[in-house]
Amino acid sequence: MAAGGSGGGNKTYSFKVVLLGEGCVGKTSLVLRYCENKFNDKHITTLQASFLTKKLNIGGKRVNLAIWDTAGQERFHALGPIYYRDSNGAILVYDITDEDSFQKVKNWVKELRKMLGNEICLCIVGNKVDLEKERHVSVQEAEGYAESVGAKHYHTSAKLNKGIEELFLDLCKRMIETAQADERAKGNGSSQSGTARRGVQIVDDEPQNAATAGGGCCSSV
């Protein structure tokens, strides 16, 4: 959670953001575009694209963003709760040319809301808008759904570098707001001890998860 440094309004927020999405929706391209500004580039210096960090300064507030990629394969679906424990935000990516990937996003949203309640900022991202001609998920449906679950919807293209900067900036602003509201609610001093002591634990996944995983449309891979 927002583990902040003291000293006036000069706070540093640390946010954890999980990246969810099926195999080939372009999660990796999305973060690599954001953090390295590269797409399918042979000169990508980073060894991995599964844990990336970014430092931002939004209106004088420093933000350390840690982006956690998650394995999107169907077989790892049940592990989701271990990943998104304690996260401040979630980016749910689907491919606009792939109806299935949008269904997966719906599953994750349900789970996230169940596990983390309304504390988490959700972003639903329709990636690959450069392939508008092959669109299979309608804009109205996607945006309508996002609104119905209290998430924000974004259209992006990692290839054309469209909408990505806005997505992360917007998400950060929302997370700051949530964190501030949280602090106010808890009163100043006690906010940290409550949130800081949250480790990672292995939890038994609920039977529902297993059911959705089993009934899920097609297991790719």
Binding site: L47, Q48, W68, I82, A196, G214
Partner: protein, 522 residues
């Protein structure tokens, strides 16, 4: 571990333990039988001289540490009585002081060293019948936890020989001592707050020692986490919000505290961590047949660099068990993860995403079967500085390891894309999947083809050889026949040789000499 056998070693009269001055508090032979208060009064003026106000802070820290040692080991420590006696004074207020002290000595021992040592020492002391045998027992027990250089101090010399100290705990204490010294060296660089931090840590370890016996691991974890929280809050105010510095100090604090507490809080007997360890170990063993293909691992072990990386990753994850500090354990996981990323990068030539990383990590865990996996995970979860686990890179890799373990525990036919029947057969060991199926089979067929071709050719060669043989025989016969024919045609007749003119001339010398040509010069 039979607590009874140790307790029966202490057969002392209450009066023997009391202060010789008769103030009612317990005395200590190390203070010549005085209690801490009387001892302090007795030697007050001597000490006043010793403790000069302008002592360098560094020196003080060093002494404090020595005193801390002495207080936990009961040895004499002249130069640094201020913190020492203060501590003892506090202790003496407790009614059950002796008991807790003894307990304290036993509680860490119940884990490693004294399983062998304690009955040994107890057996040794009981029949000795010495006047101060309780003290001797205590001393012997202390010596188990006393580093060798402390043993060699003059006051302890006389007892040293008969104190069998098992090498395990001795080594452990050497390591602990090294960590303490590093910690003090580090704190010296911080000057005044360093002293405060040290005091806090020591006090915390003391309170933890009393809690270890009768509290659950969760409560202990809570204590440690609270301590981290308070400490970092204080540091944050002190350093005016410089979180980097706070982090650096906190790392050292964690290292110091957890090295001290490790023995008692890692895989404690009161939890079922050990059972879980064994369960995971058995599970991984049962899954030995899982292949790279089943998990869709994006590494190609045929490439030598990749297989080197895989081996390195396996070594690193196994090494985790040998570390004591949660942060060091995390570092092992991170190192292992980096090796995995390297392996993927070499194979695929692109940065690895979580889709690639997690299956590979699962594969590595299956291959490595790291010792005490669950205990290590639990220990890190309970006692690591939470800020590290929550957002840091280490935390991410640790989470992935947790995922890998969870996946292995729940793994079924579907998650490997196998039919339930196949999965069942592999699990029960009735069958094992054909390794590298298509490749192996085609190779066999190729070899078979080659072999049959080879046979044919050999046949041909043999045919040729046989023909050659018969040809040779024919030829030989032919030649022999020809020779015979000729021999028959021209039979060998040996006629007497025609006599030469000179041959049987008997009167040779009667002949005139042959004419010699004469040369005339023209």
């Amino acid at each position: 571990m039979s607590q009874k056998s140790e307790r029966r070693g202490i057969r002392v009269d209450q009066s023997e333990l009391l202060c010789t001055k008769g103030c009612g508090y317990y005395g200590n032979p190390a203070w010549q039988g005085f209690c801490s208060k009387c001892w302090r009064e007795e030697y007050h003026h001597v000490r006043q001289k010793q403790i000069k106000e302008d002592w360098a802070l560094a020196e003080r820290l060093q002494r404090e540490e020595e005193a801390a040692y002495a207080s936990s080991q009961g040895a004499q420590s002249q130069p640094s009585l201020t913190p020492f006696s203060k501590f003892e004074e506090k202790k003496s207020n407790e009614k059950t002081r002796k008991v807790t002290t003894v307990k304290k000595f036993f509680s860490p021992s119940s884990r490693i060293g004294s399983k062998k040592a304690a009955p040994e020492t107890a057996g040794k002391c009981v029949p000795s019948g010495r006047e101060r045998h309780a003290d001797t027992l205590l001393r012997d027990l202390r010596e188990i936890f006393t580093p060798p250089w402390d043993l060699a101090s003059p006051t302890e010399e006389s007892h040293e020989t008969k104190a069998p100290s098992p090498s395990i705990s001795r080594q452990a204490s050497i390591e602990t001592d090294q960590v303490s010294r590093d910690f003090i060296d580090f704190l010296k660089s911080l000057h005044k707050p360093g002293r405060e931090i040290h005091k806090q840590c020591r006090a915390f370890i003391e309170t933890m020692a009393t809690k270890e016996d009768h509290q659950s691991v969760e409560e202990l974890s809570e204590c440690v986490q609270d301590f981290y929280q308070n400490m970092s809050d204080r540091l944050l105010t002190h350093f005016k919000g410089s979180s980097e510095r706070v982090e650096r100090v906190m790392d050292q604090v964690e290292k110091y505290i957890m090295t001290r507490l490790y023995k008692n809080v890692f895989c404690p007997e009161i939890t079922d961590d050990e059972k879980k360890d064994l369960a995971v170990q058995k599970r991984i063993r049962a899954l030995h047949w899982v292949t790279i293909q089943m998990l869709c691992v994006p590494v190609d072990e045929e490439i030598p660099e990749v297989s080197d990386m895989v081996v390195k990753a396996i070594t690193d994850i196994i090494e985790m068990d040998s570390k004591r500090v949660p942060r060091d354990k995390l570092a092992c996981i991170t190192k292992c993860s980096k090796d995995i990323f390297n392996a993927i990068k070499i194979t695929r030539n692109e940065p690895a995403s979580a889709d690639d990383f997690l299956p590979t990590l699962i594969y590595i865990v299956l291959k490595a079967n790291p010792p005490r996996l669950q205990s290590n995970i639990q220990y890190i979860t309970r006692f690591c500085n939470p800020s590290r686990l929550m957002t840091g890179e280490d935390g991410y890799y640790f989470t992935n390891l947790c995922c890998a373990v969870a996946f292995i525990e729940k793994l079924d036919a579907q998650s490997l894309n196998l039919s339930p029947e196949d999965f069942e057969r592999y699990m029960t060991g009735q069958a094992s999947p054909r390794r590298q199926d298509p490749e192996g089979l085609s190779q066999v067929y190729q070899s078979l083809e080659l072999l049959s071709g080879l046979g044919e050719r050999q046949e041909r060669v043999l045919d040729g050889a046989r023909r050659l043989e018969s040809d040779l025989i024919d030829w030989q016969d032919g030649v022999a026949r020809e020779v015979q024919d000729i021999l028959d045609k021209y039979p060998l007749e040996i006629r007497p040789p025609a006599s030469a003119i000179d041959s049987d001339n008997v009167e040779n010398d009667r002949l005139p000499p042959p004419l010699l040509p004469q040369v005339f010069a023209g």
